[in-house]
């Protein structure tokens, strides 16, 4: 007798069982939980180490923070630090910036708009939102001349990234629908109006959980905390670690009591928030495994009881000629049928609640791989939970049917 020919009778038998509906609901709940855990875990993992979009090798980020001083004093200090860092052997170029892609404090975005109003059609940069009034949300950075060269930014428009402002390709596409941006005026709530003189290929803030991190404008100057100085150092190939180690000795104030200096090699550096994303993904795997274990245990308890109390029925089947394999197959199919129905119900619930998930996890998707993985894991869990009681059941001899209570 093939497994397929048994499905019909088993299905008719199973659905009459009073706990059948409960099992289907339980599996549906399990699908909802595991499916969402897989989906959110993948979402966090994808944000753990986003690419900055520029050449990160041989780049060192230096942050120097001193106590409050008069503006001219702090400006002079930053200039002296920049010169000292540029003089470190192995440094090709040193540029000061207001913020770095490794910063953790990027909470409040800025806005950009132009005099051109809203271009026809949707934003030419996929996934970048633009308000009906043509306002685009993004990020601003202030950087010295040479920023584009130091980070090897690729120019999309313009001969070289010149002052006063250059923007990323996605900001151009969102603002101008893909039309050329050179010479147009950029308005922002953070910086004075400026003429766009260059468009660079997208670079992004490496902190996860930010809106449109690749939509940015790079200005020569912005209001920023004068106590803090950020510097990017482009080093000779393979010299990044050596340069990083030399930073503390190059800066005269590095050992002052109320001065904080840090230096990191950009390639592979983990920010606080990317660590949070990676940690959350790992935690979700852990919680998923825990819940999988409890689902198996719960199923095992019910299955063990069910099989233990059905010795006579199994004995009858054995007496009528069923082999051990037939009994095993029967019990496993009996479990798999409601499991698949529960998977289907769970999928419907997950899809129904996906908009709510998208409100909390921008761009999250529940794709076919997630669906199959969830259904597979739940089915596997069901089989594992049933396997031990089912194997025990195969050892029930046909003679058990002749025993009375």
């Amino acid at each position: 007798m093939s497994a397929w020919s048994e499905v019909g009778p088993i299905w008719r038998s199973v659905r009459r069982h009073r706990a059948f509906a409960l099992l289907v609901v339980e599996v549906a709940l399990g699908f909802f939980i595991i499916g969402n855990l897989i989906m959110t875990c993948r979402w966090y993992a994808s944000r753990a180490m986003p690419s900055s979009g520029h050449r990160e090798v041989d780049v060192v980020e230096v942050v120097s923070r001193g106590p409050a001083e008069p503006t001219d004093v702090s400006t002079a200090r930053h200039r002296a630090e920049l010169a000292a860092l540029a003089a470190i052997p192995g440094v090709r170029r040193a540029v000061a910036v207001s913020s770095s892609e490794l910063d953790d404090r990027w909470d409040v975005p800025e806005i950009f708009w132009t005099d051109a109003g809203t271009p026809a059609g949707p934003s030419a940069c996929e996934g970048v939102a633009r308000s009906p009034a043509g306002v685009v949300v993004g990020w601003t950075v202030a950087a010295d001349d040479g920023f584009a060269d130091a980070l090897d930014l690729r120019l999309v428009e313009g001969a070289q990234a010149q002052r006063p402002v250059f923007i990323t390709r996605c900001l151009r596409d969102a603002l101008f629908g893909g039309a050329p941006a050179l010479g147009r005026t950029l308005h922002s709530n953070h910086a004075p109006d400026a003429r766009i003189t260059g468009v660079v290929e997208d670079v992004r803030v490496r902190a996860p959980f930010l809106i449109q991190p690749h939509v940015a404008a790079i200005y020569p100057q912005l209001p920023s905390d004068p106590r803090v100085g950020h510097v990017f150092l482009r080093t000779e190939p393979g010299r990044a670690e050596a340069v990083r180690d030399a930073v503390a000795s190059a800066l005269p104030d590095a050992t002052a009591p109320d001065h904080i200096v840090s230096a990191r090699v950009v390639a592979g550096a983990e920010t606080l928030l990317s660590g949070v994303a990676r940690g959350t993904a790992v935690l979700l795997v852990y919680v998923g495994a825990l819940l999988g274990l409890l689902a198996i245990l719960g199923n095992f308890a019910v299955a063990a009881f069910l099989v233990g109390e059905r010795q006579r029925i199994i004995g009858v089947r054995r007496a009528l000629g069923a082999s051990r394999w037939d009994v095993l197959r029967y019990l496993l199919i009996e479990n798999l049928l409601p499991t698949q129905l529960g998977n289907l119900c769970g999928l419907v619930v997950v899809l129904a609640t996906l908009p709510a998930a998208r409100l909390r996890f921008a761009g999250i998707r529940f794709d076919i791989i997630d669906t199959l993985a969830t259904a597979f894991l739940l089915s596997l869990g069901g089989v594992v939970a049933k396997l031990v009681p089912a194997l025990r059941a195969t050892r029930i001899p046909p003679s058990v049917v002749t025993r009375s209570l």
């Binding site: 806005i111 949300v137 809106i211 245990l297 909390r360």
Partner: protein
């Protein structure tokens, strides 16, 4: 039989029933305890986010300054559909410019008022190196208005609000880090190179979503508190100002002159007379029709919290709880139905339906109760993993009384309800079912 002896009788029967399959009962109990541990962790995190253990006076009020609609409306307009814009939209409506903050702070009408600005400062304790920490520059009244309790010392005096007296209150985590022996009060710390004396150390972490400045996303705890008057002398740069139009310069003075939003103000208006007097004062300071004054309740209704990732996981934890209840119900039902002939014997021998109902229900509760009570304990390994893997703030998740209560009582209540169905279903077993035996 008295009801107590009847209960004892049902408990004995339920215990006997469980002891017939001790291994299965143990596995079921372990499964429920694991499920409860996930629930307890999510509940504890949601509770500390909501700040349920902070009692705020309903007479707290806040002023929203009405501003002309401009390009900045993109935050408010996009908030409903974008998780990143919603907090900015709330902040943009609830925070004030530096000038507005000063104007509001100078009103003498409220019974109490607090103005707050978050800014990073460099702190150095008696031992160890300098560290950058987030300070809140505020008034002495802040601590009373927001129910902040002290482990040692207390707030600075109101006269210190003007600054220059070198006093500081340490937050719980900072106090513990700088003075692990708890002897911080009276000791000195260095802030931005200046000497400050610790006058108080808070007794507990602040709620994750601090009610005095909601949705400081990814923001660390207010590590220390400094008098508002020290904000200028220390040259502090406000944390994450929301720019509306570009400042007219690059320096701090230009930022303070600008319409950037970074000041949070609250007032306490305990009587209707206070409210009326404050409205008159605001008419004079801001202009009639240029503001909305809201009580705490009105404020909460006007600014519902946006959808958070935490609320999503809390919902998942509720589903885990419901799943656990279904597992328990299915277990009891399967067990009861496979032993229906035995139940038929009981019924044939005169056992009323209520007895079968009570025995099944008690059996379910015997499984659920230890699992519920141990849930908060079982959460500890997960909480440990959470604190070490997801360090998005400097306030680790710790067991709290409320967290333990909610972590244990809710699963217990859910199990009590969930067990009703199998108990009811099995109590309907007909006496003739015993004929099916053999």
């Amino acid at each position: 039989m008295t009801s107590m002896s009847l209960l004892g009788y049902h408990v004995r029967l339920a215990v006997r029933s469980l002891r017939r399959d001790p291994g299965v009962a143990l596995v079921m109990w372990l499964s429920l305890a694991l499920g409860n541990s996930v629930w307890a962790l999510a509940a504890a995190e949601q509770l500390r986010f909501d700040g349920r253990d902070v009692s705020l006076s309903p007479t707290l009020h806040q002023v929203e300054v009405l501003r002309p609609r401009d390009a900045n409306a993109v935050f408010e307009d996009g908030a409903a559909g974008n998780p990143y814009l919603a907090p900015v939209a709330i902040h943009a409506r609830t925070m004030h410019t530096y000038a507005e903050g000063q104007a509001l702070a100078s009103s003498g009408v409220p019974a109490r008022q607090s103005t707050g600005i978050r800014a990073e400062v460099v702190v150095r304790g008696p031992e160890g190196g300098a560290e950058a920490r987030v300070a809140r520059f505020t008034n002495a009244a802040f601590f009373g208005m927001f129910d902040r309790t002290f482990a040692a010392g207390g707030p600075w005096a109101a006269r210190d609000d003007a600054g220059g007296t070198g006093v500081v209150v340490l937050g719980f985590a900072t106090g513990r880090k700088l003075f692990p022996r708890g002897d911080g009060v009276g000791r000195a710390v260095t802030i931005e190179g200046r000497r400050y004396h610790v006058v108080g150390v808070l007794a507990d972490y602040q709620p994750l979503n601090a009610p005095w400045q909601l949705l400081i996303w990814g923001g660390f705890e207010d590590a220390l508190f400094l008098p508002l008057g020290d904000f200028d002398p220390l040259g502090a740069w406000p944390e994450e100002p929301i720019y509306r139009t570009p400042p007219d310069g690059l320096d701090r003075a230009a930022l303070l002159r600008s319409d950037a939003l970074f000041v949070m103000s609250w007032v306490d208006l305990p009587t209707p007379a206070h409210v009326e007097a404050y409205r008159s004062d605001l008419d004079r300071r801001l202009g009639p029709g240029r503001y909305v004054l809201r009580s705490l309740d009105q404020w909460r209704r006007a600014f519902p919290m946006p959808a958070t990732q935490l609320s999503f996981f809390s919902f998942l934890a509720v589903v885990v709880l419901v799943g656990g209840v279904f597992t328990l119900a299915r277990f009891l039902l399967t067990k009861g139905l496979t032993r229906a002939p035995e139940l038929g014997v009981y019924r044939a021998l005169g056992a009323p339906r209520a007895a079968i109902f009570a025995r099944t229900w008690v059996e379910g509760m015997l499984l659920a109760t230890p699992a519920a009570l141990l849930g908060p304990l079982f959460q500890l390994p997960t909480a440990f993993a959470f604190n070490h893997l997801v360090k998005f703030v400097d306030m680790p998740l710790e067991l709290s009384r409320l967290g333990v209560l909610v972590g244990a009582l809710v699963p217990l209540g859910a199990a009590a309800i969930g067990t009703l169905y199998p108990a009811w279903r099995l109590s309907r077993t007909r006496p003739t079912r015993y004929l099916g035996m053999g």
